[in-house]
């Protein structure tokens, strides 16, 4: 069915259409969207409510919830995004999202790379602890975020015992073939930084003796570190006490 040309439309209709379109655009532009403030972040709904809202398919809901969460207290170009958020509530949201989609990596990526890198040390520690707790529930899949948490603990918080705790957890729990050796060896290097040379020596020696290091270059590197540690230990023994 062909249509009649626009000239058949009365001019009054065209005028009203144009005026209403301009009016609508002006009306909406006078009502700008306000980005949510940190205090606007409500506690998350319960798991049963979320499962009900997901209509039996929780993964899309989990993805949407993460996008919703990250919009709070974020300002493009802001020096300190997320600083004003209530981290108890943020953790509840992240935890709900992880329960809806346990294989999803986004919540722990956000926890370790966004929320844990705020200048507030207490909040950063809280988020690192959250990453640690969640790592223990699925170590084979979640070790990268705990490895990043160990780096933050070591370099940002200057808390070597905490970094060692996280590195030890990776070594102990993430034992699958997909976990690279560098992640499992982190603890040894942190121990070296903590001046616990004897333990580091035993650990690196154990790696080499176990035969798990198959790459020759990596084996050479570890042997070199082992010799350096042994040299430092000898020097320490020979330092006369004052």
């Amino acid at each position: 069915m062909s249509e009649r040309p626009v000239s058949h439309v009365p001019r009054s209709v065209l005028a009203v259409l144009a005026a209403a379109l301009i009016g609508q655009a002006s009306f909406k532009s006078w009502q700008p969207v306000e980005l949510p403030e940190a205090s606007d972040l409500p506690p998350p709904p319960g798991m049963s409510s979320l499962r009900l809202a997901s209509f039996g398919d929780p993964i899309p809901l989990a993805k949407l919830l993460m996008l919703y969460l990250q919009a709070f207290d974020y300002r493009a170009g802001s020096v300190t995004p997320y600083r004003s958020l209530d981290y108890e509530v943020v953790q509840q949201w992240l935890s709900r999202v992880l329960r809806l989609d346990p294989t999803g990596q986004y919540p722990l990526l956000a926890a370790s790379r966004l929320y844990a890198e705020v200048p507030d040390e207490a909040k950063a520690r809280k988020m690192l602890d959250f990453v640690y707790e969640q790592f223990l529930l699925d170590p084979e899949r979640r070790w990268p975020w705990l490895a990043h948490a160990a780096v933050i603990a070591k370099h940002r918080l200057n808390d070597l015992p905490l970094a060692r705790r996280y590195a030890a957890a990776i070594q102990q729990h993430a034992t699958g073939p997909s976990v690279p050796l560098w992640a499992r060896q982190m603890q040894a290097f942190i121990l070296e930084d903590m001046d616990e040379l004897e333990t580091a020596r035993v650990m690196i020696g154990g790696f080499l003796a176990s035969g798990s290091v198959t790459d020759p270059a990596e084996a050479r590197f570890l042997e070199q570190r082992l010799h350096e540690i042994e040299d430092r230990l000898k020097n320490r023994v020979h330092v006369p006490r004052k």
Partner: protein, 255 residues
């Protein structure tokens, strides 16, 4: 004027003969029963839970009923050649359209009133009045958009899908704007800017339905005068916009 009154009257009569009143009563009854069940189950804030769920159910049901009625009524009229009969009368197409819109608006208004009454059992009257007025605006927008979609697309399925898509998009547009503007990287690429601009442009031509008919008004937080007038203005402006777009389409049709 008599043509408008006659056509609007027959539209209301059609709604009654379609047992719309019975359907509305059944929806109210079922919603009240479900809300009462949840009231029994809840261990705290039982009245708020009952009220919030009842209001949400009634709102969605009203939107569904109005959209379905407008679309099926227009398609049936076209299939029975009643549209051609009416357009053969010595009245402009705009008069025919205004008559149909008036009829559907009356049905929408009656539905808004009918669905608001049970809320008065649980909520303060002032909150219910504001909620009802806002629902009326929302249903008028839905009726005019349904009319636009069915005049343009002429098929029940495509018209209903377009109306549902419009409604869902309008309700989620603010959330989409917030998400689009909250990129977590400090580097704003051209793609980021284009996506944000497109989302904002779409938002400009959609009504702010997400600000209408809010449950919090029933729970004691009434909107300010400015906000209430803004919502009424938005409803009126959008009905005019969509109606003129429908008239544009109607005048171009070879009927």
């Amino acid at each position: 004027m008599s043509f408008i009154l006659t056509v609007a009257g027959t539209t209301v009569l059609e709604a009654l003969r379609n047992r719309l009143a019975w359907l509305a009563a059944a929806v109210v009854g079922a919603s009240l029963a479900l809300a009462q069940f949840l009231n029994q189950v809840a261990i705290a804030e039982s009245l708020q839970i009952q009220l919030a769920l009842l209001a949400a159910l009634l709102r969605v049901a009203a939107v569904f009923i109005v959209a379905t009625f407008v679309i099926t009524s227009m398609v049936r009229e076209a299939n029975d050649k009643v549209t051609e009969l009416l357009l053969s009368q010595p009245v402009p197409r705009s008069t025919y359209f205004v008559a149909k819109l008036a009829g559907y608006s009356l049905v929408a208004a009656a539905l808004a009133v009918g669905f608001s009454l049970p809320l008065a059992l649980f909520a303060p009257v002032s909150g219910v009045l504001v909620w009802a007025a806002s629902l009326m605006c929302e249903l008028m927008i839905v009726a005019s958009v349904s009319l636009f979609c069915v005049v343009s697309l002429t098929q029940v399925l495509s018209a209903f899908a377009a109306t549902a898509g419009f409604y869902l998009l309008s309700r989620s547009m603010t959330a989409m704007q917030v998400i689009a503007s909250a990129s977590v990287t400090n580097e704003h690429t051209i793609a980021d800017s284009v996506i944000t601009a497109v989302v904002n442009a779409i938002a400009l031509i959609l009504p702010g339905i997400d600000r209408m008919t809010r449950t919090e008004w029933l729970l004691g937080a009434s909107p300010g005068t400015g906000e209430a007038l803004g919502l009424l203005g938005q409803g009126a402006l959008y009905v005019v916009l969509i109606s003129s777009a429908t008239l544009f389409d109607l005048h171009r049709k070879n009927l």
